[in-house]
Amino acid sequence: MADDSDLLLEVNDLKMYFPIQKGLLRRTTGYVKAVDGVSLSIKKGETLGLVGESGCGKTTTGRCIVRVYQPTEGEIVFHDEGEAVNLNLLARQELKAFRRNMQMIFQDPFSSLNPRMTVLELVGEPLLAHGIARGQELEDRVAEMVNAVGLKVEHLPRYPHSFSGGQRQRIGIARALVQRPKLVVCDEPVSALDVSVQSQVVNLLQDLQSELDLTYLFVAHDMSVVRQVSNRIAVMYVGKLVEVAESEELLRNPKHPYSETLLSAVPRPNPHHAMQRLSLEGEPADPANAPPGCAFHPRCRYMEDICQNEVPELTELTPGRHVACHFADQLQLQGIDYSASIQS
């Protein structure tokens, strides 16, 4: 286990409830428990992958961490050069100044860039906003960043519409990284891109990570992409983490039934892949009305009585591996077997 000096971010029991309002008086009739008690930690320089299906709260978790949302409850502690900063206790001005340490890369490169700003303005804006640089220095820093993401200085006076999706995503990456953040939350950064461009952007993110000493929280639904970039993977289901493990460990040897089905559902680009897919009945539960007990129990093939009543805690099964399942130590689950391909 990492000692505390390695930690960059700690999230303790994070909750984000969105009120459901009804009627003329907008009375709150219930809550969508988008994130319901998530605890995780990210070490300096690592990539933590956060996977799950739509509506599981993975994006909300990312947004709470960079404080786009004020979480309902929970602690977010950022370890900055030996100092532990609790983001929830920061005042507005302090938070604004602190924001340069945490940035976000968005999914949709078409809607996340202001169409009326040039590349120079888009990438330079964060520097201006934080008073980091201006004038010639700003232009130099923007040019340097733009080169680092694989665009050219000639592109600076152009507007986003003249770029392809992949290039726009590069602009978004430059805008996020120009202020040298320590933590970057990548929210589905490649899922809107074409297949051939996805791999370019994945490679770019990995190169920039080692060049600029970045720490990533990589939020995505595509297990193969997440595995490519992540040191560890956290699997989320209906607002809660169900499993956290080293990525290769999780793939080979999943310990939560949901991780098992998620892995088995990944379509393999191999027509000889035998149809040994575990079929997963039903659909993800509604976070406004989650089932009692383990939220996964209505879809779980290993369900027992206890699963319907008691919420399993996320507990450490073996060092570095946390699972939230009553039967984690008993189940023999099927992972991904790629022993054959290693030999060949």
Binding site: S199, S224, L262, L263, V266, P267, R268, P269, R277
Partner: protein, 349 residues
Amino acid sequence: MASDTLLEIKDLMTHFHLQEGIVRAVDGVSFEVRRGQTLGIIGESGCGKSVTAHSILRLVPSPPGNIVNGEILLHRGENGNGDGLVDLAQLDPRGADIRAIRGAEISMVFQEPMTSFGPMHTIGNQIIESILLHQEGVDGSEARELAIENLRRVGIPRAEQIVDAYPHQLSGGMRQRAMIAMALSCSPRLLIADEPTTALDVTIQAQILELMTALQDEYGMAVIFITHNLGVIAEVADEVAVMYLGRIVEQAGVNELFDNPQHPYTQGLLNSIPHIDEAKLARLRAIEGVVPDPYDIPSGCAFSDRCPSFMPGKCDSAMPDLAATGPEHRVRCFLYSEAEEIVTEVADG
């Protein structure tokens, strides 16, 4: 063999005449779909895979889109309600003939089930409408029974209640099931599925793929399955056509294509994606460059500016033909141009 063919497309060209110039969205595509088989079409955005599908059903908006060349021959064999060949490319896109085929003999499942159902009518009414339009001698209450039966068959629980639900009341997966129920309500002989699982979660995607395979076995229909996902295509297709900028660059049986990809673009695509059941690579082997602007396609082979095996003077001077390199394997690349037999103009039956 010929009697096996359901749909034959010969040298189809669908162009869009826009202010900025002509976009050759589909530029000389030929393929056959055999009864009961699945043809997968794979390619990135802008490669013309959806326009090809829309051209078959004559759904390309005109203007600006026009089918400027080619034939789309529907073989209506003995069990059809007509006989002989119909060239869909010659039909009036708003005429009675194509409307009798749409939704009945050929139906379509779209990517986004929310936008393809009308929001103002119940799921049931929309399915019933299609049944009443295309099936003679069926009255309202029978059509409703059929609609419920169809919803049940695609695995929708409580079908007799869901039939009265509005599209927004259903989840994405359920809506896509309802969409499939509607597409199958008149027992089509060809189903065109345009990215039917792209908007869905992986576990739901797995359910829908399984459902489609099961229904295909049950109904014996042919399927054209359009997707950008190599994993999905490997699972559903019998034969695969890889498209790039309006043309088929490689076509082969699914096993052959994945075991022995020949076109540099196909090889690039297969290499560039992360393979979850293989050892992890330090870096993905990306294809260089981006898909060119449709107004500014490189001369010669359209892939030449991104191709690792680019041969100067050859690849940038002429477009290679789609030539056979083996039984059931055709490639559009000069690397294989020793292989003689040119199959661009497929001889009739």
